[in-house]
Symmetry: C2
Subunit: 568 residues, 2 copies
């Protein structure tokens, strides 16, 4: 009854690879499971690097150990999982015809060839560098590897660096910015695009940018890097595309990553149109005996039906689990359906998250029937120290189906985005969400959770009850024309404390019904109402409409979602 | 073109009533909208009472004001919403034939009659009192009204009460226990049933009970109250059904509430089988001109298809919104589909939440095809100070559809329960959830979120890969028989620090493959594996099965979900 042992070889030992190996082992206790890992470490919690650099914890080994403190080294893999994990071992080629890989030990330079029955490629991604002069200067790094994390942590501890530049204002760039700021370094973030965090739409990204700046980190958007400046091989500054020169002793480049597909490509495995290894829903490549997982693949976006490169640590683990099971089984058993590109990051005292499509992504993809709304409110009652959340919801204007949501602020963004992600996964519509039954108690949420209230506002908008206008549209109204009445309906105290200063008139909601005579006689005149978060703004609009004004709009999200500077 | 103004009368001004009135006003700016409120206050954040008593905040007015600090009094309702809200005004009868209500001013004793076109009943619920002697003694209260909250807050401030008893270990009882403990009072919670918080299954409730006890609050379960003891009309103690007498100067009764349906019943409106006012999905009673909302109604449980009394503040608001719109419209426009009975409460440093059905509820309702699993893990990586979560998932064993989930612990229970609630609302199955795309970054969750990992374990169990056993079943194995090997597969350090002490043998997972010869020769012998959370326990079981032992079970949730006392 004895049959030949199956040999499953995994290339890559960071996240997806070890997960695939562990799952394969659990499915087939008899198989040979081998991990070939180029780096010195195994199963690194790479998403934790910024928090190590930022000093949230000091024990480097926590990035490399199980929850009970056991280091995930080759000995651990051998003893606990009977997996042969070889570090410092780089795979140099794949021979699909002969079912072998060649490898080289980076410490001893020894080379070898190994047969496989099933191969799982988890070669990850490569950080991109800008095509400018000076990238080889000392003092330029990425934050992609354990080595990078060690280097930046060392800088934190030496306290010799005064000024640093982060090139790229995406998720890793922002996390790095926070980490270095916490290390006491003066930071400037440089972003070529007009905004940080492109998974957010512009107006939410600007609110995050204001928060970053409030933490004494400089942000320059709409201006890319033209070159790194140096003396004697060492970085002394960066030059921007507009000519500005910024002196700095450290530059962290975080302008994105591309799938590391060299091995797969050289072996003739199909590469997808997004540059990642093409896989089917079983995480199987164009070669049925070869699977690929993690940052080196491209996967289906479940909303658009198009492939995307989605280098997220959680997806890498889920994909590893699927490929591990399929590779260890007689046939493909389990599927990874795809991604809705859910993400979140901590930005000092704010969080910023998104799931599904932003408005700008949706428009770029050619969606036309889209409707959006912005909601601003605390996450909990004021008496429980509620903190602000600002959400932008994107839905299909015909079916009401949720296409995406973004949320930012000091409040509990994580729960909000998790709820939207599950709503998208359940293919729910705005109408499905308006009566959601969520966990409510004052320490956790408002009686009507921010998520549900966002759906309520969208419902009012879709039913034509609320005509609204965005802050950007309000900003573009000429101040001098006097064709529009901007009506702030908050109380006088609130107005004294904080105001936009864009020519608005103050009439508190509570006085509005008695002061209608102060409003324009011309009932066709455009009136834009708002308050702190635009709930009272909405009620004011209803009062005005009921009294004959027929061109009334509510400014979405009110003052809390205003992405520009305020007068006060 | 002028038509007669519609008059919408709302009976009750706590939560559902004001919400209904406000929505009615927004739908029909022309209607007369009147709230008749028996209490002196309006729109009280009653779920916040325990936190006011407990001293989370000191300004009583925060319970009665908008997020910008405006008190929701009659003047506010008149000015901001054009709603005529009359406090201290008790409705004494409903005359359906004549479309009128009679009312009495509790301050002036004046009475009156008022016509309505549409009536919305929001009379709330009445706290139940135990049918025992002494309930009229001074020193016995509930925590249901603003008056109760004022009374208990006064006790906090006077600091004269030393010992109190909370009768009832449900949600309000536990919140009250925490509030009074924070007020420096020695507390005993008395619960007739064998456990606290009956929305949880027994084993999770026991973990919460241990936590309550760790905060120096006494808990007595399985023992009801036989009577209140007093001297000169004042409470001096309580007597339990087993004869125990506990001296105390204060007793807070929290044994549940029943719908306040007297007015509706007297008017001949249909009362449902759960004792609440019967309503259809439009929140309309048996009289088409009368709606009812909030704690006085019974609503559909969306999972069971049966009616339930679900007195939750969030549902009251959602129902109010629906009834307000329907009452103000020409026809019923919007629906409240029902509840999945999602709830959460803070219990000192723990949270406890549930959505859908618990196992015991499901069994009571006659569900047979159910499968459950327990998962224990941190909510975040250890290096980000992850905190424990223990989840019990209940699913349909044939379809895999999620029937319910409970979660407790110091970790982020709120996000977990919100995710399960949305999964139930989306009618998702275990298979749908295993590849969920949720917001992951180390400050917010594990790479594989606890929610997804719970689905993974359930999937392994449903596929027959993991045979498991509950802690209760393990507890019932006779120690002396020696027919079962209890195998703790953690490390020696962990064993020294904490262990069950139920006759277990320690063989660390990392050493297991080399020490198989120490295991029973009889391959049919029952072996139960476990670790801290039973992930290593699961891996150990796979190793044993692969080596021929065929009666291996994993103890679900491991030591962290063990609901009994440990040796260490």
């Amino acid at each position: 009854m004895s049959k030949k042992k199956k040999r499953i070889v995994v290339i890559g030992g960071s996240a997806a690879g070890p997960k695939a190996a562990a799952k394969a082992r659990r499915i087939d206790d008899d198989a040979d499971v081998i991990i070939l890992q180029k780096d010195a470490d195994l199963s690194m919690a790479s998403c934790g690097y910024p928090y190590y650099v930022g000093g949230y914890f000091d024990d480097r080994n926590m990035l490399l150990s199980t929850s009970t403190g056991v280091t995930r080294d080759p000995q651990f893999y051998l003893n606990a999982k009977a997996i042969d994990a070889r570090t410092n071992t780089e795979v140099t080629s794949i021979d699909r015809k002969n079912h072998t890989v060649t490898f080289r030990n980076l410490l001893t330079d020894e080379t070898g060839t190994m047969e496989y029955d099933k191969l799982i490629i988890a070669t990850g991604s490569i950080p991109q560098l800008p095509p400018v002069p000076g990238t080889d200067l000392e003092g330029i790094t990425t934050l992609q590897s354990m080595k990078d994390a060690d280097f930046l942590r060392g800088i934190r501890e030496e306290q010799t660096i005064k000024k640093a530049v982060v090139v790229g204002g995406g998720l890793i760039g922002i996390e790095t910015c926070e980490a270095l700021q916490l290390a006491g370094i003066e930071i400037t973030v440089i972003e070529l695009l007009p905004q940080l965090l492109t998974f957010l739409d512009w107006e939410l990204a600007k609110l995050v940018e204001s928060h970053v700046k409030s933490k004494s980190a400089n942000v320059i958007t709409g201006n890319g890097i033209a070159g790194f400046l140096g003396e004697n091989g060492t970085l002394t500054g960066v030059k921007l595309q507009n000519g500005t020169e910024l002196p700095c002793e450290l530059a962290v480049v975080a302008i994105g990553v591309r799938p590391n597909v060299r091995l797969a490509k050289e072996a003739g495995i199909t590469i997808g149109e997004r540059g990642g290894i093409a896989v089917n829903e079983y995480m199987q490549t164009s070669d049925p005996d070869i699977y690929a997982v993690g940052d080196c693949v491209e996967v289906l976006n479940l909303i658009t039906g198009k492939n995307v490169h989605a280098p997220y640590g959680d997806l890498a683990n889920l994909q590893g689990r699927v490929a591990g099971e399929n590779a260890a089984s007689d046939k493909n058993n389990v599927k990874f359906p795809g991604t809705i590109q859910t993400g979140i990051c901590k930005v000092f005292d704010y969080s910023a998250g998104a799931t599904g499509l932003s408005e700008s992504m949706a428009r770029k993809l050619g969606y036309e029937d889209i409707i959006t709304v912005i909601n601003a409110s605390p996450d909990k009652p004021n008496f429980m120290d509620g903190l602000l959340l600002v959400t932008k919801l994107v839905a299909d204007s015909k079916s009401g189906r949720i296409l995406g949501a973004q949320c930012i602020g000091p409040g509990n963004v994580s729960r909000q985005i998790a709820q939207w992600a599950m709503a998208i996964q359940g293919k729910l519509t705005v109408e499905d969400i308006v009566n959601s039954d969520l966990p409510y108690a004052p320490p956790f949420s408002l009686a009507i959770d921010h998520f549900i209230a966002t759906a309520h506002i969208m419902q009012n908008k879709m039913k034509g009850r609320m005509k609204s206008i965005t802050a950007m549209e309000v900003r573009n109204i000429p101040k001098s024309g006097n064709d529009t009445l901007l009506l702030d309906v908050r109380g006088p105290d609130e107005y004294e404390e904080m105001r936009l200063g864009i020519g608005e008139t103050l009439i508190p909601l509570g006085a509005l019904r008695k002061r209608l005579h102060e409003l324009p006689e011309d009932k066709d005149k455009e009136i834009i109402t708002f308050c702190k978060i635009s709930l009272r703004g909405y009620e004011a609009a209803i009062v005005l409409e009921a009294n004959g004004w027929n061109n009334v709009k509510v400014m979405e999200g009110g003052i809390m979602a205003w992405p520009y500077a305020r007068e006060k």
